[in-house]
Symmetry: C2
Subunit: 251 residues, 2 copies
Amino acid sequence: MKNNVASAVRQYPCERCPLQSFPHFQRHEKDEVEFLSEFKMGELVADIGTTVLGEGASSAHLFTVLSGWAFRYKTLEDGRRQILNYVLPGDLIGLQGSVMKEMQHSVEALSPMVLCVFQRDRLPNLFRNFPSIAYDITWLASREEQMLDEILLSVGRRSALERAAYLFAFIFQRAKSVGMVKNDKLMVPLRQQHVADTLGLSIVHTNKTLKKLATKGALRWLDRGCEVLDNQILLDISKWQGLPSTPRPYV
Amino acid sequence: MKNNVASAVRQYPCERCPLQSFPHFQRHEKDEVEFLSEFKMGELVADIGTTVLGEGASSAHLFTVLSGWAFRYKTLEDGRRQILNYVLPGDLIGLQGSVMKEMQHSVEALSPMVLCVFQRDRLPNLFRNFPSIAYDITWLASREEQMLDEILLSVGRRSALERAAYLFAFIFQRAKSVGMVKNDKLMVPLRQQHVADTLGLSIVHTNKTLKKLATKGALRWLDRGCEVLDNQILLDISKWQGLPSTPRPYV
DNA sequence: TGATCGATATGTCTTAGTTAAATGACAACC
DNA sequence: GGTTGTCATTTAACTAAGACATATCGATCA
């Protein structure tokens, strides 16, 4: 996909890019809006299952997510896969490919997605001219690190049941923070294989573990995905307080 | 420790701060050097076992490591601990506490350390005035994320033996890149408890696993710590190619 | 109406890893 | 010289998770 991004992009500035929800835009710094709309290439639609960014790729683009779900993952040579984190609206992807030489992980769409596309070679220029956006990008990178810390703690030290409960509580909270939760319930578009590869378990054991969670009324498994029914049960099982709210500070 | 940093800091600008090895300094941009020496508070010595930064703390400081080892970790309420990553000379710590509200992990010294101390509330100012340093900081954050991705893959999907081999190969490579490796051998100041908490294993099983690695001639256990003897054996066992070199690009 | 396929479910057996408890080695300290 | 404390090591009993085989279930399509 990396080669046909340019042609697939719809060439108009998108009005609702996540970067525009950042603090400096709320302060109506108009020149930054103008710069951003120059920096921005347009929108891109990715279908379910698409590899938005591939490991080893030296993509010329940086993306923000307007809508849809994706996941970041890495694999070992023999095919064992580890899902690293999930990507939700408002997230930035491809920063590593922009700032380092190339991507060391892949990103795959879990649902149809709409992405905002940026040219990565303008990133240094963006840093030079718009330090508040640079600060926001650092905030995003720092938050990603914080999430990875949590996930690593979970995979390393929680039991299978705690891990599964933590995963869905974690996703629930993230989805809630971007307004994807209605009536305190949430559809998560995952296969059990995804869950297994996130938790570091076999698919069989994952199935048994999910069944336990379902028995307790925390969630229920559907056609293609699972529905979180009671987040409090998940929090109790995982012994997790939830992520602290970390409002992005003004620069 | 967070309260006595200010008094413990030796109040002179340090000449060999890691930030000064960054690209913009190599281009001799003198005003940046001047700004940095104003931004810098001085040096701090931390003894072995010291908690440099504590979870939940809202430290007023940001550190770069001049010398010594440390590790980042998180714990669950019941005491289970997960070591997230190791901190080596050249690394930046406390960014999360600067950019988010507070630290979500702790950092503890594994050996006597010398740190460079910065005031975190000047960070936005630094971003505004010195975008190339901002870019370097983003580079560091991105590299940390890349390392966490690798570690998560390892803990989630590698066997105990592969994980242990990976850990020491990983540390070896990082240490080599900052010139800490002599004669292709390296002393790593870890207890087996640290190794266990890094790999997500019990200390008993860690002991057995390390014994296997020792039998294969990859490493040997000493008084307080372990010596990496043959990195190639570790790489073979862990099926790891090593981190790609990712030179920090000029802005 | 089957036929086929991918995903989920479940039972049995095996194994990798845990827990607990005892022991040894070594250094620090009166 | 004896006491204490911290790590490392080893054993044995136990259990969580994996492997494999097989069954079910629901789409889709001829």
